[in-house]
């Protein structure tokens, strides 16, 4: 019931800001596709680079869509509008609030990723995006929504969320198997990047898209991230003395 309330709140927000949300979701990924895909025409493994790029850009778009939908919004509600107080005071179980935020964030990420897929649809790349792809993208969005919740709870001022985004989300967007294969990265760094959630998502989405047999062990990674971040968020809302 509480989850539905939060989804209703996020739906109202989505309807209200539909054009802004849609444009914001489109601009950056579209630039990546134009610049790296059509502008700098190159190939990878004998295929147009665009075919490599699209799964990565879709993955990073769900990451950005989900993280941005939750982190900044919740940060403003907690520190500036104090609207988060309304939730804490209310009898809605706080775990349902967290679950609602994660699901809403994942759906927003999926929406952003879906827009990119629609935009590249006319290109006829032959890439496959099936039900499993969408499950993985949803899970990726859920992970980054939960990270967004944790970041917004830890933020001490309005600048902290963009700062985290600059230091962690943006490097991940470029390094995690999105724009280039991480196979040639030196040992140590390669393994470190491989365990990041976006690397797992990009690898699985690209594998499915190109029809190559791919390990789905990454789903366990994503579930682990989701569990840990959700756990931290729950500890925060139930145990933190000064919200």
């Amino acid at each position: 019931m509480g989850i539905i309330t939060i989804l209703w709140e996020k739906w109202r927000e989505f309807v209200r800001d539909f054009s802004r949300i849609t444009l914001a979701a489109m601009v950056a990924p579209l630039m990546y596709l134009i610049v790296f895909g059509w502008g700098i025409r190159t190939t990878m493994n004998g295929q147009p680079y665009l075919y490599f790029l699209i799964p990565g850009v879709v993955s990073l778009t769900t990451m950005n869509g989900s993280f941005n939908a939750i982190a900044q919004n919740l940060n403003v509600q907690r520190l500036y509008e104090k609207a988060f107080d309304q939730v804490i005071i209310s009898p809605t179980p706080l775990w349902q609030f967290i679950a609602g935020q994660i699901i809403a964030g994942a759906l927003r990420g999926l929406y952003a990723g879906g827009i990119i897929l629609l935009l590249v649809f006319p290109i006829k790349t032959g890439l496959v995006f099936n039900f499993l792809s969408f499950i993985i993208l949803f899970l990726n969005g859920a992970v980054f929504s939960s990270i967004g919740i944790v970041v917004s709870f830890l933020a001490r001022n309005h600048a902290d969320v963009p700062r985290f985004s600059n230091y962690f989300i943006m490097p991940m967007a470029y390094l995690c198997n999105t724009f280039f294969s991480t196979d040639n990265i030196p040992h140590g760094a390669r393994e470190l990047i491989a365990i990041l959630p976006l690397s797992q998502t990009s690898r699985m989405i690209r594998g499915i898209a190109s029809g190559v047999q791919t390990s789905l062990a990454g789903i366990l990674f994503l579930l682990l991230y989701l569990t840990v971040c959700t756990g931290i968020a729950l500890i925060f809302v139930y145990q933190k003395k000064n919200l």
């Binding site: 019931m1 509480g2 539905i4 309330t5 209703w8 709140e9 109202r12 927000e13 209200r16 800001d17 509600q77 509008e81 104090k82 609207a83 988060f84 107080d85 309304q86 939730v87 804490i88 005071i89 209310s90 009898p91 809605t92 179980p93 706080l94 809302v237 139930y238 145990q239 933190k240 003395k241 000064n242 919200l243």
Partner: protein
């Protein structure tokens, strides 16, 4: 019934609320008075679970309050000092969100919103987003939002801050009516003369401690029911007397300008706060 047992809140090294023990009976209209920084808002924040106590406990109807106690939170509504609302929502959305958070059926939320908006004179502004409302309208909306859930306990932290005199008077009348219906009210306010007329009992708070808890009449009686204000070059000095005769006797010995009047709760407040500040 609200019971605070040794309630303490420490921020870093400063004690905001210091081992408060207090019982507020069901149906009581209770005022928490004190100067800025006395710990009133911190106490209300702990009662609304926004802050958790460093030690001590809060009992609602003899049950321990925590963030997990849905049943107890269902009984409480809070009007916080700040406008705790999403700025991009309109008034209807704010009400619906609140109702949904309290598990009220949507049809009932809408019907009750109509009533409350009509009562508060907000109907014609209902589609305005919060950021476009004046401070007074936001306050009224917060009251409507708090009443939507039909609470048994109403916590009000400076509910009339930013309201004009007419709206403030409407608000006090409303609170009186609600209390007559049996709602327990805990109020903090800087309008002490109104607390005097509304509250059954008040607690004076200073430096996180309760310095006195009593009825306004008893507190005034303890200070002295009659006050003589003496105009001196350094300002007005007030002296208090238990009887009119003693006050008049004192008055007759003064050469400068002075006035005799009834002591108010504000005098009690100023005396108590002044003692701590000096």
């Amino acid at each position: 019934m609200i019971e605070l047992r040794h309630l303490t809140k420490i921020f870093d090294n400063s004690t905001a609320v210091d081992a408060i023990d207090l019982i507020i009976k069901s149906g009581e209209f209770f005022g928490l008075l004190g100067p800025n920084g006395a710990g009133k808002t911190t106490t209300i924040s702990m009662l609304s679970t926004l802050l958790l106590p460093s030690s001590g406990e809060i009992l609602i109807d003899k049950e321990l309050l925590s963030r997990k106690r849905q049943d107890l939170k269902q009984k409480i509504s809070v009007i916080t000092q700040e406008y705790s609302m999403r700025q991009d929502m309109d008034m209807d959305e704010i009400m619906e969100y609140q109702g949904r958070l309290y598990f009220i059926p949507v049809r009932k939320i809408r019907a009750r919103t109509e009533e409350l908006f009509a009562f508060a004179g907000l109907t014609e502004h209902r589609h305005k987003t919060i950021r476009k409302l004046s401070g007074g309208m936001k306050r009224k909306l917060m009251v409507c939002r708090a009443l939507l859930t039909e609470p048994q306990i109403l916590l009000l932290d400076e509910p009339t801050a930013g309201m004009d005199a007419i709206s403030r008077r409407q608000m006090w009348n409303l609170l009186r009516q609600l209390n007559e219906q049996g709602i327990t009210i805990l109020l903090t306010t800087h309008y002490i003369e109104e607390a005097q007329s509304l509250c059954h009992r008040v607690a004076l708070m200073n430096d996180g401690k309760l310095t006195d808890v009593d009825t306004p009449a008893h507190l005034i009686e303890k200070l002295g029911a009659f006050a003589v204000d003496e105009l001196r070059p350094e300002g007005v000095r007030s002296r208090y007397f238990p009887g009119r005769e003693q006050a008049i006797a004192y008055l007759s010995g003064i050469k400068g300008r002075c006035t005799l009047r009834d002591t108010t709760l504000e005098d009690v407040f100023v005396e108590q706060a002044g003692k701590h500040l000096s």
